[in-house]
Symmetry: C2
Subunit: 199 residues, 2 copies
């Protein structure tokens, strides 16, 4: 009987520890930014398993405006899952939020498709990170061309980042993020009243 | 000393339990299809946290072809994470794979956007499931309009599904799935040589 009680106690404790490990795994933001040398961002290799928040085709707020004759570019945006879940609860981004922006080539001809465009090669990979250590609270990173991505890249600075900061300050619906283009986030931000005035 | 040994035993056991919970979570396909009444699919409410595999704009292989004057529709495809991971290892889909297809309205005017299109309201939600119990090994489901989604829906049958099966048989690059439109999957299918002849 005492042995049974002891076993039950051990199993209960084991379960509690296991549970706390699991909960801890969710809260410790294991999917947040990884840095090298303090502020250089290590490219997340598994961002395609992160939460997708929206796509666009031919959006021209990108610095690289496509010429009218070039095939338009798809933009896919992903966010680290723990920050996505936090946003769905609060309508705001926790420190350590990582946005990954993919630019992908578009193509139109492949059976059974008879029109419209779908996504092909990765062209450019960029990131935006919320981290209180940066002057504006957010930093921007460019991992370069899809065929030659950097494994680690320092935050953009000087003129390279000025237009990012200006546009993300002036036109972003929530904090420094274009929630107006991400329908599931936009709905939550409306409910939580975290949209900036004018949205 | 006995207390120390006891604590070590508890912690070791806790670790094993935690490990088994994790492994179990990955292998039991907790993210697979949920049915009501045998074969009616329960709408996955968290598919936006599943793995995104690709977007298209204005693709016309959809049954509902947009008229030339209508705004083109975005299509987003998501797959349950455990099946995605299995595909990345093998280039094939395990039994219990669930594809979710979203059709979303596109819009073009919102600062700082000066062209191109981004995603807005959910129009239609559909699913495709690999399940050996169905005649073709795959079944197709339609949860209806975005403003009035069904919580549970039976597999499409008869004429409603004939065109799905025909097109997914004739034109899909891997099994019954249009991997030719999903760039990260296409690369893996090429490496694993699981593309059908002609792709």
């Amino acid at each position: 009987m005492a042995a049974m009680k002891g076993l039950t106690a051990v199993l209960s404790l084991a379960y509690l520890v296991a549970l706390s490990l699991t909960v801890h795994g969710q809260q410790s933001q294991a999917d947040g930014p990884r840095y090298a040398n303090g502020t250089s961002l290590v490219r997340p290799t598994n961002y395609r398993e992160w939460t997708f928040i929206g796509s666009g085709l031919g959006l021209t707020y990108e610095a690289e405006t496509a010429s009218p004759t070039a095939a338009p570019t798809f933009t896919n945006t992903f966010v680290n899952p723990s920050s996505y879940r936090a946003f769905m609860q609060t309508g705001t981004w926790p420190n350590g939020t990582v946005f990954v922006l993919e630019l992908r080539r578009s193509q139109t001809e492949a059976a059974p498709n008879k029109g419209g465009r779908f996504q092909t090669d990765l062209l450019v990979l960029e990131a935006e990170v919320k981290d209180a250590r940066f002057p504006d609270g957010w930093a921007f990173f460019n991992f370069g061309r899809g065929t030659a991505l950097s494994d680690v890249t320092p935050p953009l600075s000087g003129e390279a980042v000025a237009s990012c900061v200006e546009c993300h300050t002036k036109h972003a619906a929530v904090e420094r993020t274009f929630v107006q283009f991400y329908p599931t986030l936009l709905e939550v931000a409306r409910q939580k009243r975290t949209l900036k005035p004018g949205f």
